[in-house]
């Protein structure tokens, strides 16, 4: 049973700026690589097992960082109301800095790093209005535009939600965003596209399980599957935006 935080963060109407990103789908559409429901399903499965798995692993690890505070153990589902001790917050900041560096290393495309930070920044703005918590200061201190999976994990963890909820939230967003973009770009039947998302359920749960398991180990061992075509298309998207129309940021 998901908690309210991960439900709200995974909602397509959450005002965190996600709707202007297509996760590479716009570039794939413009190249004819995604043109109908079947090719969309292949695109989404590939994205789930690469970008989705990386994001899920880091969200789960980040949730563990913010959950590891004295107050969250006693009051589940409630962010700590007082500032954590400086030793705890310093340790947390160091762990987030390590996760940030590891995630950067797994994201070779500058355009994708920018897209992740843009969505993290947008989500942070909405989160600060909804769940203000001093725990997040440590993540923002590492970078004022935190990577999206790290922020989602941090918020879920601070609210007492388990790591798998954070992982499921970002893994789902990795496919629901491009699926929504496909409806807008290709005019696909929304019922068919929604059914694709549901069909990917078992693959999604497998990604969540792998992410949570990996998050129990050191950050250097977090999943690092590569998706060179997605990386190249993300770069090409930005390049083409300067020459002709692109409707999405990524």
């Amino acid at each position: 049973m998901p908690g309210l935080v991960s439900l709200v963060l995974a909602d397509a109407r959450f005002p965190g700026g996600g709707h202007v990103h297509s996760g590479g789908l716009e570039e794939a559409v413009s190249r004819g690589l995604a043109s109908d429901v079947a090719s969309l399903e292949g695109f989404l499965l590939g994205r789930l097992r690469t970008a989705g798995l990386v994001a899920a692993g880091f969200a789960a690890a980040s949730a563990a960082v913010s959950a590891n505070c004295p107050s969250s153990g006693t009051s589940r589902a409630r962010p700590p109301l007082t500032s954590p001790s400086s030793a705890v917050s310093g340790d947390r900041r160091a762990r987030w800095a390590e996760l940030d560096a590891e995630l950067e290393a797994r994201t070779p495309s500058l355009a994708q790093r920018e897209a992740s930070r843009a969505q993290g920044r947008g989500t942070l703005r909405a989160v600060q209005a909804a769940w203000p918590s001093p725990v997040l200061d440590g993540l923002v201190a590492v970078h004022p535009r935190p990577h999206h999976p790290l922020l989602v994990g941090a918020v879920c963890g601070a609210a007492g939600e388990p790591a798998d909820e954070a992982a499921r939230c970002v893994a789902y967003l990795a496919i629901s965003g491009p699926a929504s973009a496909a409806v807008r770009l290709l005019g696909l039947d929304p019922f068919a596209v929604n059914a694709v998302l549901v069909r990917l359920g078992p693959a999604l749960e497998a990604v969540v399980a792998e992410a949570v398991s990996a998050a129990e180990g050191p950050p250097s061992d977090l999943p690092a599957p590569s998706a060179p075509v997605l990386d190249l298309m993300a770069q090409a998207h930005v390049h083409h935006h300067r020459e002709r129309v692109r409707l999405f940021v990524s």
Binding site: F14, P15, V20, R121, L185, F248
Partner: protein, 237 residues
């Protein structure tokens, strides 16, 4: 929408509410006044923004955020026609949903505004006074969120049909200023200006309506005065 729809009367539906209504809160001090410019495709939003930038640019430290589908084209148009240096124009992509980007999820626009504000605050210590946010062309129901702008102008044009004001919708009905554009075309498209202004005034009550032709008045004098009044009211507040 009935003719006597009262915009000035604020009604609380909460029986426990004892405080004065908090609507129309003054904008936060210390940042630029943000004015949204919305309206249907082709009604002349970009031309109005260019006219305002030309006529106010000398007196007011302003910048522009564009949201249109051809973002770079609009931004280029403004740089050419509004004598706006490139660093004063930011273009936003809206993921095929221009109304979402100004209403339901304003993140991309807020990021663009904050980028502009930070750019000019750090440059010469003199921050921006005015940011114009031009929405992508949309339909009659698209309005700006109060979380994004302090005031909004809705632009329709006579070539879109003289029944547009009568159709209403939140843009025509609630915008702080309604501009009926391209009045020079009225005789050519068979639009009855009396019908348009009559319907607009009836449906909007006290809220102002300006008719203009940028062919006849390239400076958009009346709209410019309205914007300056807004700026002055804010300084006085």
């Amino acid at each position: 929408m009935s003719a006597d729809h009262g915009h000035g009367h604020l009604i609380s539906f909460d029986p426990t509410e004892t405080e004065p209504d908090h609507h129309a809160a003054p904008p936060a001090q210390g940042r630029a006044l943000r004015i949204g410019i919305g309206g249907p495709v082709g009604s002349g939003k970009t031309a109005l923004v260019a006219a305002l930038a030309r006529s106010l640019g000398e007196r007011v430290r302003l910048a522009v955020v564009t949201n249109d589908i051809y973002t770079t084209e609009d931004a280029d148009f403004l740089r050419r026609n509004a004598v706006l240096p490139p660093e004063r124009v930011e273009a936003v992509q809206t993921g095929c949903c221009p109304h979402t980007a100004i209403r339901d999820d304003i993140t991309a626009n807020l990021d663009a505004i904050e980028t502009l504000e930070e750019r000019f605050a750090s440059r010469d210590g003199q921050g921006l006074e005015l940011v114009l946010v031009e929405s992508g062309g949309d339909n009659l129901t698209a309005v700006f969120s109060r979380g994004l702008v302090d005031a909004q102008i809705f632009v329709v044009d006579v070539a879109g049909g003289d029944k547009v004001p009568r159709k209403g919708g939140p843009g025509v009905t609630t915008a702080d200023l309604l501009v009926i554009n391209k009045t020079d075309l009225a005789p050519l498209v068979g639009a009855d200006m009396d019908v348009m202004t009559g319907d607009a005034t009836r449906i909007r009550g006290e809220l102002p309506v300006i008719t203009q032709s940028l062919v006849e008045d390239p400076s958009a004098t009346e709209v410019g005065s309205w914007v300056l009044d807004r700026l002055a009211a804010r300084v006085a507040a």
